[in-house]
């Protein structure tokens, strides 16, 4: 690797994940399945219905096309025992990949349950969120590693139930944030219906992590007519974040919860400067419709918002494009994410190669220092 700070961080990540100079993946994943969390789900009519379905991904999650199975099948089959979508990619596999790539601490987000807002039955959504949280806690404790953390999954359909999940798990030593999936999140993130979640998260000092996902029907995804996975995935991630951020911002959520941090995951960072400047322009032009804010949207972003870098996309590594984006947002606002074990993951070098303009301290912050601060690792 070209940069001595990255060399040092990779070495330390492999051997000493408690070191302040380690690469943190601020958006790693497990790939849970309904089968995996079954034993953790409360008995009752909701569970019976969920597990009686022969096609639960369609009937429960409303999934149309998620990550296609051929994506996983083509990936280094000799290194994986199981890699088809129907099987869980549990924490042990993610940790193996982490060590292979020289990444240190992981902050875990679910995979299938990025679709949780699209679950049409609120009873199911509540039970699934509860079961997932119990399962991931057990998974982390079973691995016995002190540097693997999770975001508490909340069911947006029933925000008060989401607040109860936060209250339940906030004191767990491995819970570091709240996972608010964005796939078809409706009402959008700025609606007051979600206030119990924001209130509970702020109370416990947990950042709310917004994570986009695909394959469902809900607005604003408009899944019909996006006939391929590629077409949907290309635009739905940044679109979800943009839609939800505007709602969050213009309805004054960061103003009402000034001690609450927000993390936007898995849309990369290219959309952020564009939307940030656009929101500022609209605020100055239409502030009579936005009395909930007391300062420019960009000022809230620089105070309370963070962004993970994956996917970097096919951005040129020989230019300053990514570095300029990061400077526009704020070098203290951006965190490396690998998105392990998903097929579109980024290696740490993929980001560090694009940070040549920054000094060592800034690089260290982007690669892991800021995530340590945001998630209190």
């Amino acid at each position: 690797m070209w940069n001595r700070i990255i060399d040092t961080m990779a070495q330390k990540s492999a051997s000493d994940t408690d070191s302040e100079l380690t690469v943190v993946d601020a958006d790693a994943h497990v790939q849970e399945t309904l089968d995996a969390i079954k034993d953790h789900m409360e008995e009752g009519p909701a569970k019976d219905l969920i597990y009686s379905s022969p096609i639960p991904m369609s009937e429960v999650y409303g999934l149309d096309t998620g990550t296609p199975t051929y994506v996983y099948k083509s990936q280094a089959p000799e290194k994986r025992e199981k890699h088809i979508l129907d099987d869980a990619i549990a924490l042990s596999e993610v940790i193996r990949l982490r060590e292979e790539l020289g990444v240190g601490p992981l902050v875990i987000t679910p995979t299938i349950n990025l679709l949780l807002p699209a679950v049409n039955n609120d009873q199911f959504a509540v039970k699934i969120a509860d079961a997932y949280n119990k399962w991931i806690v057990d998974e982390i404790e079973a691995e016995g590693l002190p540097d693997t953390y999770f975001n508490i999954l909340v069911p947006p359909q029933r925000p008060q139930k989401g607040a109860e999940q936060i209250e339940k798990w906030a004191d767990n030593p491995n819970s570091k944030g709240v996972c608010m999936p964005l796939t078809g999140l409706y009402p959008p993130a700025g609606h007051r219906i979600h206030d119990p979640i924001y209130e509970a998260a702020e109370k416990h000092g947990l950042p709310v992590c917004f994570h986009s996902g695909g394959g469902a029907w809900n607005f604003p995804l408009a899944h019909r007519w996006t006939e391929t996975y590629a077409e949907g995935s290309t635009w739905l991630h940044p679109t979800q974040h943009m839609t939800q951020m505007v709602s969050l911002m213009y309805n004054g959520v960061p103003e009402r919860y000034p001690d609450l941090n927000f993390v936007h995951q898995e849309a990369g960072i290219g959309w952020v400067p564009y939307l940030m400047y656009r929101m500022d322009d609209h605020y100055l032009e239409f502030s009579y419709e936005i009395p909930a804010l007391d300062k420019l949207p960009s000022e809230y972003i620089k105070d309370q918002f963070y962004f993970t870098t994956q996917p970097l996309g096919h951005t040129p590594s020989a230019s300053d494009y990514i570095a300029t984006c990061i400077e526009s947002i704020g070098t203290d606002r951006v965190m490396f994410s690998g998105d392990l074990p998903h097929a579109d993951f980024d290696t740490p070098e993929e980001l560090s190669d694009r940070l040549r303009r920054f000094d060592d301290d800034t690089v260290a912050d982007i690669m892991g220092g800021t995530a340590r601060k945001v998630f209190d690792l």
Binding site: Y283, L284, E285, P291, K295
Partner: protein
């Protein structure tokens, strides 16, 4: 640079208008009459140079005591730039949405029915 009194307008012109715009030393300057007082501001929006003082006059919006209902800030008046809607406090020249943005303002004196701007 010392400021000199520049004749701007006659008080009688404000009997039928809430503002008068006059060019003084190459700069269009508007004088507004509000609650019996006169306030002068450059007819130039610092956004993209629009004719700021030709816009409508309104009051800034804010949230009520319940933290939700929209209401007007009755203590302030602002002129709305007709180009992009940026809004400036008539008295201070400050953009009502961002204090670092300001339109130039000028002192006003009235004597013997004549409105003077100091520039």
């Amino acid at each position: 640079m010392s400021k000199a009194r520049q004749k701007h307008s006659d008080v009688t012109e404000f009997e039928s208008a809430d503002r008068v715009i006059t060019e003084i030393k190459g700069m269009e300057i508007a004088v507004f009459k509000k609650d019996g007082s006169f306030h002068a501001m450059a007819n130039y929006c610092t956004h993209q140079g629009g004719p700021l003082c030709e816009g409508g006059i309104t009051k800034p919006s804010q949230l009520g005591d319940d933290g939700w209902e929209w209401e007007y800030d009755e203590e302030r008046s602002c002129v709305v730039c007709p180009w992009h809607g940026w809004r400036y406090d008539i008295e201070s020249g400050a953009n009502v949405d961002h204090e670092n943005i300001r339109a130039p303002t000028y002192d006003v004196e009235v004597e013997d029915g004549t409105v003077y701007v100091l520039r």
